[in-house]
Subunit: 332 residues, 2 copies
């Protein structure tokens, strides 16, 4: 199956599991259905779900077993984004206003909870194995811990962070569910104990993915990227790029940047954001982060290749490798 | 087992499943652990978990099978309350500031998500049956729908609601998880198909419980109740009491009350809240609601008695009946 058809199948599977406005018994519940379907209908790349399916096929599972698990992982992404957008007071998601900007915070928070439950429902109704369910528990546990780390740094205005701090946060918040979990869930869905390599290699690839996300946030094409360019600066996010630049900046520039990042979004001056944006780009910190992402991509792929070469379906394994490369080498 | 010991066992089981600050590898994650444990440590009545255990024992299940399911239902209550308190901008919970007042909204929202995942983890790690998992899916689905109904009425300033509207919202938002789900989960944990009576009888009892909650919010003892007295008026909640009063109020009083309820919490005048509080109490609307709760309690118990009389453990069945009565006849 080619990636474009697969993506459409995962999205269709996700939407089938959600309430439909036409079946709602009241106008309010039609709105509820529209809210649950909103982010899933906007699409997204569905790289994680696709990665999971190719990993599972490579291990010998059938597509029909894999689709609900892949759709559940994409539902994870969708409910987590609804809640992230509230937590970060984000303006946009996938090129449109964030859900809480359209419907208000209380209804959007609740829709995120409902979508979270639909994720478990997808797995439970498909009678996914307890080992698959255990892995989803790990996904949500780790992501919530990483999210707590990042948000507590922002709330307490901490900038005394090392690259190791960033990497721990990034591994928990993004890398595990982006690359480790899809690989492991593919194997688990095939009834196979996941190779140990999947953890370290997946973390490298997932961290590479997140670093590229941070780069695109500063340097991406606004149309392809789909989120607010420099949104991370408006929101005061700690990224590898920022931490690298802070560690090398002059004292006055460091103080100027930290003052800006500590200021609440609505009180930030656009000229100051533009100044920091420009400094990060011209200082070499973006290039440093891009090189780090490439290094992690190479290390992850190198570790995976010999393991994947042993798997029963080599065509799926090759497609999966190409998809993993595209996690890091992308424009959106 | 007596209810006091059982309550302690359910709480202990809940807390065992949560991260502990002493085991955290970083200070930020110790804070995360404290946040997840905060509401569960505050206690609460745990009536739902206790009801589930007695129902399960009555059906012949063992305590050890029932405790994780009961603890999971109490975890449901706890994460839902964290998110409710954010959605409603509540000040207090169980006699202390709400979690988002202590830690800020973003961290509290995330802690609620983490606790939601811990609910599923509790069930999955105990290898609860898929039928039990299916019932938890229903619990979260229905509660989220009921919550959407209530919040969308508040957000759109709707007061053109009938008692039937209230009853639908109340059945979905509160009654199902308060009484239907504990009865059904008790039976399902014993490997028994739940008697059909549990649905209608549980809805009557659960709606009775919620109506009493609305009464206590206006007339409760502030110490025993543990939440802000008249908080429902500050938050603009639609209750049976309010809808009854509005349907009988004079035009000027109705307009005055609706204007107050539409005003955001922070802009409300305390004297206006006190006026409406007094009008509801002296008009007979509170007494009307109290009588409706009593009627539903009697109907629910009457429907249950013949079914419970057939169950293998009659001592547990009797304790369960007493507990169901206390759902409606209570001061906190």
């Amino acid at each position: 199956m080619n990636p474009i058809d697969l993506r459409a199948q995962i999205q269709a599977r996700m939407l089938e599991a959600l309430p439909h406005p036409d079946q709602a018994v009241r106008a309010e519940l039609a709105e509820y259905a529209r809210m649950l379907r909103d982010y899933p209908e906007r699409g997204g790349k569905m790289l994680r779900g696709m990665l999971l399916v190719y990993a599972g096929l490579a291990h010998g599972a059938r597509l029909e077993q894999l689709l609900p698990v892949a759709a559940a992982l994409e539902l994870f992404q969708n409910w987590a984004l609804i809640h992230d957008d509230i937590e970060d007071a984000s303006e946009e998601r996938r090129g449109r206003p964030a859900l809480h900007r359209l419907y208000g915070m209380p209804l959007a928070l609740n829709a995120g909870d409902a979508l979270h439950a639909r994720m478990w429902a997808m797995l439970i109704e498909a009678r996914a194995s307890y080992l698959v369910l255990d892995e989803f528990v790990r996904v949500v546990d780790l992501t919530a811990q990483g999210q707590h780390l990042e948000m507590s740094w922002m709330q307490t205005h901490r900038f005394d962070l090392t690259e190791q701090d960033y990497l721990l946060m990034c591994a928990q918040k993004a890398a595990y569910y982006t690359a480790v979990a899809p690989l492991r869930l593919g194997a688990l869905s095939a009834g196979v104990e996941p190779p140990a390599t999947y953890i370290e290699a997946g973390l490298n690839l997932g961290i590479g993915f997140q670093i590229v996300d941070d780069v695109l946030n500063l340097e991406g094409d606004p149309v392809k990227y789909g989120k607010e360019i420099a949104g991370d600066l408006w929101e005061g996010k700690r990224t590898l790029i920022l931490l690298r630049w802070l560690s090398q900046a002059s004292e006055p520039e460091r103080i100027r940047a930290e003052t800006l990042l500590r200021t609440p979004r609505e009180a930030k001056h656009p000229e100051e954001v533009a100044w920091l944006h420009q400094r990060l780009r011209e200082s070499g910190a973006v290039a440093y982060a891009q090189a780090e992402a490439e290094r992690r991509l190479a290390a992850g792929l190198e570790a995976l290749r010999p393991v994947l070469a042993e798997l029963p379906d080599q065509e799926a394994a090759q497609t999966m490798l190409r998809l993993l490369e595209s996690l890091v080498r992308r424009e959106a």
